[in-house]
Amino acid sequence: MPTPAPKRRAPRRVPRSSRGATHPRRLAWLAVVGSGALLLSACGGVANQSASAGANSGDCGDEIVIGAPYPLSGPLAEFGTNSLQGMRVAADEVNASGGIASLGGAKLKVVQEDTSSSDVAQAKSAATKSIKSDHAVALVGAWFSNLTTTVSTVAQEARVPLVTQAWADSLSQRKYEYYFQPPPKSSQIGGAATSDVLAAARAAGHKFTRIAAVGPNDTANTQQITTAIQAFKAAGVTAKDPEFYQPGIADATPIVNRIVEQNPDLVLMSGPPADVTLIIKGLRARGLHAPILGFGGAFVAPSLGKTLGDDVNGLMAVGAWNDDLPLDGVAQASAAYKKQFNAPFMPMEAGESWVNVHLIAEAMNQAKTCDPDKIASQLHSMHVTSGPAAAMPGGEVSFDQDGTNPHAVPVLTQWTDGVPKTVWPQKYATVQLTLGAR
């Protein structure tokens, strides 16, 4: 059963000042400020009622706002910005094709709010501002699981749907009815790491015997790496315990020492782009050319291609989307993205948010509404099998009670000539996996 949205609390009674009698002049000021506050809240109330009434009656005006609370500052800004750009490409496509047809051709407007990279209080403010001030009918965000936890709570309380590209299992375990996650869960991604890589390697005539693993010591990365190592061990591959480090390293030599000592023929890795760059450069400098399998957005980020140079080629990553997928609209969106933002490819997070905007547009069009509650209901009931809204690996999108998409499958990519190419599942592969020395 979905968790019901919490009821609004009655306003708390303000305690009387304990500092004794109030000065008449101060009292007058308090009265002025209090009246102002009441007036402002009354105006807000009127505005909200008006928007809500409009949404229910089907009159959505010329423009419908989709909120984009993303990390646009700090170390995760690259991912937030890419996601936002993906949303803009989708909105441009919808608007260019005449807007939301069943709502009189209403156009989509993407309004960004900065969650920061780590401040959950700012993430809460950003999501609240999207809903209350920007009047977003739905949210797409917030890439990083920690931020998405906060944003999804705000969305649930406000009864506004959040369509996300975050993966963490803990997000969907809460069974929020306004939470929607088209890409696979973390546990699916971790499991796919083993099965996909082993299957792809087998197809390429290669067999792994010893693997080493390294990642940051936070909970999500520890779980992902540990799960993958256990799965490889179960498949008969020899592996020592993973190496975990404090993220934000200044020197990768000790990490490199530990991995080189194991002499692996496959290295599993996760972590932020800066750490990953140092470790990979260090491994290659030490002459270890074993294939590397990465987890997470950092391994398919355009910046990784720039910082690693030629060393990026051959790097494998398990993810949720890639811009060479043979699915509806992907080629056009990728071309538009590359042209508009002068990018070498459309990154995973941009593709995911592009799909998410199309899903919201599809839900509004099918339900003929811009009412957040009804959009959420439509998202729960619809099953998309074609068009850009279905362009997630798996080719279909519908949502279970917990908001996850049962059709989603992870994809294995490999950097080839400076861009990530899909190598598995075979039906989506655009190049064959290469595991020899580079």
Binding site: A77, T253, P254, A274, T277, D310
Partner: protein, 294 residues
Amino acid sequence: MSTLLQVLVSGVLVGGLYGVISSGLSLSFGITRIVNFAHADFVTIGMYLSVVAVSALGSFGLFLTPVFGLAIGLLGVLVYLLLLRRTAVGATTEDEAHLPQIVITAALGIFIQSLLLAVFTSTDRSVNTVLDGAWRVGGLSLSKAQVVAFVIAAVAFAVLDLVVNRTEFGRGLRAVVDDADAAAMVGVNRRRVFSISIGIGVSLAGLAGGLLATYQTVNPTTGFGYLALAFVTVVLGGLGSIRGAFIAGMVIGVVQQATATYVALDLQNQAVWIGFLVVLLVRPLGLFGKRVMT
């Protein structure tokens, strides 16, 4: 055995850069008594200048690293003259000057980070040069970039040590450290000594940044990560002792490498802090600090 040798060599190579950053901080603090919280942000500026130069000129851009060090040193002199001079001169006691100095240098650090963020964004950047890769010496692997950076850092430190201990100007510096008023009475220009020492200290930070960029990624807050390490190194080496700071830098490098290799990767910085506390308990003036008789 080869792992132990690798740990020692890597520790010294990495620690050499810590040593240069810290000896610059130690020099400027020892003479001016200004606690410069923006010191590590000049490391970041050096890193970005190196990234820009290599992006434009390829590996030839690395030859500009010493020039960038000098330019950043001039920036340090300007910072002293425009922002810090009055706090040091106007204060009646050393303690009275410290508060505005801390606030000003901390604000300057934030300003530098914000400026770099606005210009370069928060995306990590790195360079690919002829120094990528490693030399194999016996069973050891020596990162080309780390070896070259260490050699340049060691030469820069040797020049600094020579200037401070073997020249007339260095005698003036030491005289100000011992007794600023007496030095002024015998004709040492204290304001000039202060501004030059800040300039040299910041210049070393900029040079170290330029060298670090050859093997480390950079974002606007990268240098800030070195701030605590630099202060630990300065105190460990003995406040005001530039040789102590350089040696302490290498000791810290070896401790980090050994802990990460033999104990646990995520405990390398904790080991530095524990070692720091132990040294302070045994030798409160640091490894090379001397008690001054008054």
